[in-house]
Subunit: 263 residues, 4 copies
């Protein structure tokens, strides 16, 4: 579902609710109910839910913090760890091929190309943000990025991912990195859900409202105010999370300037 | 070679030079000559060279910047990218097995257990620093870390590493990550040597002297003043490098506080 | 293209030629021309060409040897090596996931699901034949076999395959095998084409005609007379090839009975 | 322990027993007792036990069948499956690097280079036999084969092997195969022990005695009469096993000649 008129303002949305607009899915009604009552809300799926102007407006109105979207847990987690690492060392990337096998209901659904569309956009975008091809076209301007999800019943819930990364070093010499991750999707997701609940509660009690971008650490597609790029680099995300907590606690921020050591 | 009396002070060292002390290897004489003349010096190998109090004292005396030791290029680079990532998400690590195959002279030498000793210490230490087992004994207190280097002539200069990481998630569920890195050692090392030359020259001209820990980004065993822990996390190292350059240029530092975006 | 009436007999086929039948593709006209002139013919692609009764009839008529189809070169080669090995040791197989990345024209074409159909059937069938699930339903009766081909330009002609095999041992304990094959498609295919040319010429000069199943060693989908199962196990195929050559040379066959040694 | 005078003849051996010879280990006394009583004996370890002329002589004397040595279960099983496959297609092999990690007592013992010696010889020999470098020096004459076993406690009994094979195709183009096998050593070994017990009992009751080379299918270092090369290729071994059973049952042997199909 794409953003449309009924999502643009709170007034439009409430009018749409009364008129049973087709563009308001059940999940968004749930979001509206929570925010109306001032209950913090986080979205762990890749759908719109609170990622529309109408909901952001409502959140601000009721002084409610929100966060979204799409929990970052396995293969994409590894991507947002490694891509910044390659960028840090100015290693060029020519191609990144990611494939997954899983045998639960998620896998059966996502194996179909149409259902995979939203997830694919979510998964593909993280790379472009971390590597910043506009700033470094020679290194990342010609990157072929492909993601596949395959339904594979024998594995059940034990998801497995295989990534092949074609990188380029000095003098354009090609090299390769392959990552094989044997994981358990729910085990990686559960603590993320828990943390978000705890931190959103903290944000509410601290008087913070609207998009909590300092929680982007947990999300594949962090919400951002219009016109700004969300950060995907997990280390910058962690730094933001920690510095926000330090700020809330009245502590000094860590900047890693020059001669400082972390003792 | 371990640090001994002749390395403790500049006076001891110069006395040792006159007396042809066995504890002063040729590489250290070279270091002494460079620092005496005020020429910046960096150590890309895992040996002592400038990592002794006598040389640090001399560097300060002649206002010369130094950096060391052991270029961080391939497998260890990946380690200092991934370990912080695992720590960021509080994923426990039970074991990390690293093996390498290479067919150049480095490989032939390091295949012998005795020659491997210094390299092994250097390679093993990075993990302990990134994961901080003292702070998180439940996650990293019982980590079996093993590194092997194998001489393998068919591959020549095309080094290959294979890492198996046994991690633990929520409720102690075990998972595994395997990293296969097909690289070229000299291609990864050359730009590191070049960068260090350029930045040490900049440091000299900027009036900086002694250990340049902001260059730890390039090193497996960054030198640190006695009693302080060097940082191995490549992202903190990069942050330190960049913020030092910003500071030198009179720019504002990036702290990633709360609502800030990097536009 | 599936077999139809016009392919069933030579008479039907020649009538179809005169009538410009849509079911006779250019490749099959080429086959007809060669066999009519008594020139041996082999099919390295997965299409029908000489794998129809009409062509087999013509081959017998002109005493011409034929062989087909689909060169067995990389990932499938590994499959027909490993599957028999697992069967030999009665290791059960629950799932076999095969994925490929390649960047040449083959890859661009096969990336589309429709074009992939013929190749997929060819690639999927080899497993069922080697493992014989009808004979061993407890071991191979519930096998999930999936093959994917992905267009990946950065790699060009350097095809790479990744296979994940979920096997089961004694007491049903699950185990896994992963095969990563970095190969070059044309380099693996060229010698196959050359061998087939040489052996078909030998067959012709030896007075052999019709389907040369002793050349199945080189093919993914070996042709077989109606009602018989082709053999895919590469070692049985090799044994057949070698014993046929021994037979043609008047030599004794090797049977590996009891106490014999191969000296 | 190497073969010496006391092992050369039964007479020497019995004299050695009386004299408490240091060259007769407890396992060999056990072998002697079993064979003396006509009880079939198989050796699943890489030590000498029944692989000496004295024991072979005793076995013949008491009409007892014997088999040995060193169960072939995991990584070496894969080796004797794949090496013949590469040889079948005349793919050259420049290097084969095998590494293992395991955390049980086996691993702790074998991690020490001295204890590893016998196992290493056993594991290294299989490749030379399968590839026959004397017959094909251009393909296999310059092969660097290395095997490592690493003690790795976190994995316990769940052994894991990683093999890197550097192969060469037509026109000398290099390619690579990597095999990652996550297995369970005892699960792979138990059925081997069981089969050997059953088949040795059958051999005894069928009046067969001495070395049962048709059971080489289960062994890494199959015993062979002096001067003959044992076969390691698992498919030839299986063929030999099956043809021997067919022979014993009065059935026809399978030779895979020319036009035959296995229906």
């Amino acid at each position: 579902m794409k953003e449309s008129e009924v999502h643009k303002t709170l007034a439009n949305f409430e009018k749409g609710l009364k008129e049973n607009s087709y563009d308001i899915p059940p999940s968004m009604i749930y979001t509206y109910a929570a925010l109306k009552m001032g209950i913090p809300y986080a979205n762990g799926a890749p759908n719109l839910s609170c990622d529309v102007p109408a909901m952001v407006e409502l959140a601000k109105l009721t002084s409610t913090p929100i966060a979204g979207k799409d929990f970052k847990t396995g293969q994409t987690l590894m991507k947002t760890i490694i891509a910044p690492g390659l960028r840090a060392r100015a290693l060029g990337v020519d191609g990144w091929f990611s494939t997954n096998i899983l045998g639960n209901r998620d896998g059966a659904v996502l194996d179909d190309p149409d259902n995979f569309k939203t997830k694919e956009v979510s998964k593909l975008s993280v790379l472009e943000e971390s590597l910043e091809p506009d700033l470094f076209p020679a290194l990342y301007g010609d990157l072929y990025h492909k993601v596949r999800i395959n339904y594979y019943p024998p594995r059940g819930d034990n998801k497995e991912s295989w990534d092949n990364i074609d990188i380029r070093g000095w003098l354009n010499y090609p090299m390769q990195i392959k990552i094989n991750f044997l994981c358990r999707d729910s085990i990686l997701a559960a603590p993320v859900a828990l943390d978000l609940a705890l931190f959103l509660d903290l944000a509410k009690r601290s008087g913070m409202s609207g998009i909590q971008e300092w929680l982007s650490f947990y999300l594949k597609s962090p919400q951002a105010p219009k016109g700004l790029h969300p950060i995907h680099d997990i280390f910058k995300q962690l730094n933001k999370l920690e510095n926000t907590l330090r700020y809330m606690a009245g502590e000094e921020l860590i900047t890693y300037l020059g001669q400082d050591y972390e003792v």
